[in-house]
Amino acid sequence: MSDLAPPMALLAELTHRCPLQCPYCSNPLNLERAAGELDTAAWMRVLDEAAALGVLQVHFSGGEPTVRRDLEALVAHAAGLGLYTNLITAGVLLDEPRVTALAAAGLDHVQLSVQDHAAPGADRIAGFRGSHARKLAAARLVRAAGLPLTVNAVVHRQNLDHLEAIIDLAVALGASRLEVAHVQYYGWALRNRAALMPTRAQLERATAAVTAARVRLKGVLVIDYVVPDYYARRPKACMGGWGRRFLNVNPVGRVLPCHAAETISGLTFESVTERSLAEIWADSDAFRRFRGTEWMPEPCRSCDRREIDWGGCRCQAFALTGRATATDPACALSPDHAAMLTVAAAESAGDAPPFAYRRFGGAETEPEAPAHAF
């Protein structure tokens, strides 16, 4: 492993606390509580070690990173190290003094989530009344501060038909980028899969809307969009390959090859409180386990795309087959691919069950069936 390249990006999950309760949250089902979070000094040391290791970009995320009052100090520290700083936020806690302070600290970019094109649908998905209006206000503050904005829209069966309106919203908010992110099914989203899985017809309409908007908005809005795994024929290069480009430090300091890696049982993750980031990146069992191509089974092992998609997503393979070394079922060459498509077709065709909202101490089921909001 002497030729191991340094990671490009660090996802710093400062906290799992969040005022929103999105049923597809990428945080684990067992959320870390505030008392266990790394303190300011520990995060600054993580940033020092990340920069020294060769990390170029740091994404401050959560949970909702703005619940941490030391966010500005951490952004300033990262900017001082020459790191490109990105804030991934729900926006509902941002006010003008906060945005001004973050810009002054050297923040390079803001990525703001929206749950739908409008309230009340957006508020229902977020489990937070008034959240959409607060997000619109936050976007205006971000732009007024001269910060570039990316809108991130997680899409699923309950908002995918509004994608054109979501694109229009991103333009109206002055975003230069829009990420249209189909839900990925592990953790909370796996639990809510039947409430989130789109039909193939929905997906095809959405893909056509993106294709048309990319032409219409060339030079105005860049749209990032990837066909979701359940309807794909080839897997995506999840994280650019396990342990190749990316590392994630969770709120208590555990270092993960991706934010969902803890859904795979049988892996142990080391902490920045015990070892340096460089040692964990190079030597820890969790990072080495699926790095490169040695771990691959057939059909991956002899596939000419093995260093393009790196075998796809380990978390998805584990979630659907119980084996983390299985070929990602998103691949048409996987023996589990047909079963995955069957699940998608069956769940998307049925009525959407109520959401199980993301909560500390376990999910809370939506009190009413969702029909009233639409």
């Binding site: 340094p6 020294a52 290791l53 060769g54 170029l56 910060l147 990316t150 980028r177 990420e179």
Partner: protein, 95 residues
């Protein structure tokens, strides 16, 4: 909202606030940092991007590179405009 940028020889390209060009010691290479993107420019691309200073016109950049590489100005102009237009469409270059 922003308007599309059309690159021509009179354009004055620059890196927008959210795009940074810096030398990365860990890789021994120049990198362009943008939201969710890291570009590692090749030698020619780096020569172009480094001249995007908000002062120099595309025409002057073409003159400089044609002289530096002893290449036909027409060909250099075509390549420079094409590359900058692509970067502008991706939001990496403003003008």
């Amino acid at each position: 909202m922003s308007a599309p940028v059309e690159i021509g020889e009179t354009s004055v390209p620059r890196l927008p606030r959210h795009v940074k060009l810096r030398f990365d010691a860990a890789r021994g290479a120049w990198v362009v940092l943008a939201p969710e993107r890291v570009l590692v420019p090749d030698e020619i691309a780096l020569e172009i991007v480094r001249r995007c200073d908000g002062v120099t016109t595309v025409g002057t950049i073409v003159d400089q590179l044609a002289a530096k590489y002893g290449a036909a100005r027409d060909e250099v102009a075509h390549d420079v405009v094409e590359m900058l237009q692509d970067l502008a469409d991706k939001g990496v270059i403003a003008a």
